[in-house]
Amino acid sequence: MPAAPERLPASLPAQLLSFGEQLRDEGVPVGTSELLDCFAALSQVSWTSQADFKEALAATLAKSPEDRRTFERVFDRFMFRAVEAQAIDPEMSERIGEGAAASMQDLSAGELEALREQIAAALAQGSQGALRDLALLAIAAFSREAEGSGVIGVDVQRIRRALGLRAEQQPEDPTRPGVSREALRRFEALLREELERAQARRAQRLPPARPLNELDRALPSGPLADLAAVHRVVTQLRRRLATQGMQARGQRRHAHVDVRRTMRASLQTGGVPVELKFRPRRPRRPEIYVLCDISTSVTSASVFFLSVLHALHDAFRKMRSFVFIERVSEVTDIFEHERDFRTISEKIGKDAGVADISGYTDYGRVFSEMLELVQDDLHPRATLIVLGDARTNGRDPRADLFGQLAARAGRTFWLNPEPRLYWNYGDSVIAAYERHCTAFECWTTAQLEDFVKALTKPVTQAL
């Protein structure tokens, strides 16, 4: 039997448009054609089933994993607020509140056990709708026993403990069906959401809609735990470097006909040169010098920077890497001999010997040493990249030395892991250096991509 999708409620289009608007505000590219698709899709699914409704929206509106993540958050926020706006209506809330409370007033031990089992079963099956209902039940049941602490996080843990839900180490333990960590986390998130909702209901007003935290979507900043995430970004980067080379080649493909290869190819077609062969254009492989700050002020970023270095080493043959804190040390060899990232970062930590006494970055000294090291090798076709936060700890920045370095190199870039907002505050002297180079803020993958574009762009005045 064909499904007769329910007619969409009249207010839905307006709601969806405002949802699209919110997505745009968070940086998801939602165009008119996406919204049209979205309406077409919704006419095919039953919009009363929340999971289907959401998936249909996601399939048409969010078209990359990052967008999908943003979508999830915006969707939750949107739905939460929409429902709340209705629930604040006092009559409505009273009815809901008392209904739940009355039915849960007295929970005998047997009923509690039943609830526990139900929740465990729902967790194992992973049905979101059923879990939400059970979370509501649990909250109603336990908020009777003792008043809520007022702190949502505490309440969540209290309810979880009271239910006897534990992340099981031994899932094959036959006596009690185990609950996976993942499922438990999901349940806790639901509890939290419902508690927030109850709080909003008590307060009779909505918490202000806050934009999603920009930093939530920033680069993974923790140490080695997030290495896998960094690696994914870097693999992408490497791939892009390769295809961008291709692109540059494509644009200039029609430059030179390779007469010899064309003649040879024409032999197959009786001497008629039907297929022109062009001389291949090699992508620009610049000579790169990278200076990377590995001091403590950029700890979170330096893991990321080191892995970028790692990727760059694969993409560019002629490349020299230096790390610095107080002094400079060349690490090109380490990168060339080691393939494993973990070993590389360990070796650099052990052998580089860049910290002297204080462990604070000394840009002045670093640039003077650097100048001595490479001034004879730098030439106009070389590219110099500095990765660092330009925080001198009150020491002399010696921008003049940096200027000399930049003058010898063809192009100079500075990647700063701090948001532009913090630049030139405190001991940050990026402005002094920026006169000699192009500075990029680089703390999200998108910003890194911008930089890669600038780096691989063919330079016209050189050559």
Binding site: M1, A3, A40, A51, A59, Q236
Partner: protein
């Protein structure tokens, strides 16, 4: 053919299941939308989560022919759309050399006819009499120019050939594009597609998949296997094991007649799911050790409770 097309999401789910593919709800939903709305689907996700299999299952379910275009760096129109058969054209010209000069007009029309056209996958999919499923595999391996060329095919289902005119699709193909997300695709391409993100399946679902493909493997071993694979995936590996590799491993264990997966068996058969030397070291170190001490932990736990 219309009669075989499923009309509800549940039917799509059922159909894919019958084709040997266990979809989650989102997959079934998007497949349903793709068939009913006639929009291309862009499927992204890590390698080996069944992106290509989805297209195959769709073709089985819809009883349509599957036309596959495998993308690679440097793929161009001549290999994807159509190409003039130069040699045949030349032969034709040479064969007519003795004829009257006036024959040139007709000859010119003749050599740019369909007879001299070599059709490539995209053209075949468009021109096919029967509706087909078109799989454009690993679209992220091509360059952006190729993507731009696809736009005409994907939005209007037509191909312009300067000498022949526009070839329109006779039937609406179901188009599946897959990408490993190694390169950001252009907005224009994404705009024309529905988007489906496939990730590694949840434990229960993967268990069902493994049981489907290795039905003789006992429930407990299969569960253990899926758990282990999940554990391995959580490690920071160069190449995490895919679903296909879980299935391979299940079949290998079946062949060995394994009753349970212990530390020795794990290290012996690990190479089925882990394919880098450095990865193997990590896995042996983390998972292998855990396996070795697990029986002990179990007894301690049992004693405690």
């Amino acid at each position: 053919m219309e009669s075989t097309a499923p009309r509800t999401i549940a039917e799509v789910e059922e159909g894919l299941r019958a084709a040997g593919y266990l979809p989650n709800r989102a997959t079934a939903l998007v497949s349903h939308l793709a068939v009913t709305l006639g929009k291309p689907v862009l499927v992204e996700g890590p390698a080996g989560v069944g992106k290509t299999e989805l297209a195959k299952a769709l073709s089985t379910m819809l009883q349509r022919q599957l036309i596959r275009l495998q993308c690679y760096e440097g793929l161009d129109e001549a290999k994807a759309l159509y190409e003039w058969n130069y040699r045949k054209q030349l032969l034709r010209i040479q064969a007519s050399e003795g004829e009257q000069q006036t024959a040139w007009e007709s000859l010119q029309e003749d050599i740019f006819g369909e007879e001299f056209l070599l059709t490539r996958p995209l053209m075949r999919a468009i021109a096919s009499e029967q509706p087909v499923v078109l799989l454009i595999d690993e679209i992220d391996k091509t360059d952006q120019e190729f993507e731009a060329m696809l736009l005409e095919v994907l939005s209007d289902f037509q191909i312009s050939i300067p000498e022949l005119g526009v070839v329109k699709a006779r039937t609406q193909p179901v188009v599946v594009l897959t990408s490993n997300n190694s390169r950001e695709l252009t907005e224009a391409l994404k705009r024309r597609c529905l988007y489906l993100w496939l990730d590694y399946p949840e434990l229960e679902q993967e268990l069902a998949i493994v049981r489907l493909h290795a039905p003789d493997l006992s429930e407990t071993v299969a569960r253990r296997l899926v758990e282990l694979v999940g554990m391995v995936r959580d490690l920071d590996l160069k190449k995490p094991p895919s679903i296909a590799e879980s299935i391979d491993w299940a079949r290998a264990l079946l062949l060995l007649g394994a009753k349970d997966i212990d530390a020795t068996l794990f290290t012996e058969t690990m190479s089925v799911i882990v394919k880098h030397r450095t990865d193997m070291d990590i896995v042996a170190e983390r998972v292998g050790v855990k396996l070795a001490e697990q029986p002990e932990a179990a007894t301690v736990d049992a004693g405690g409770t």
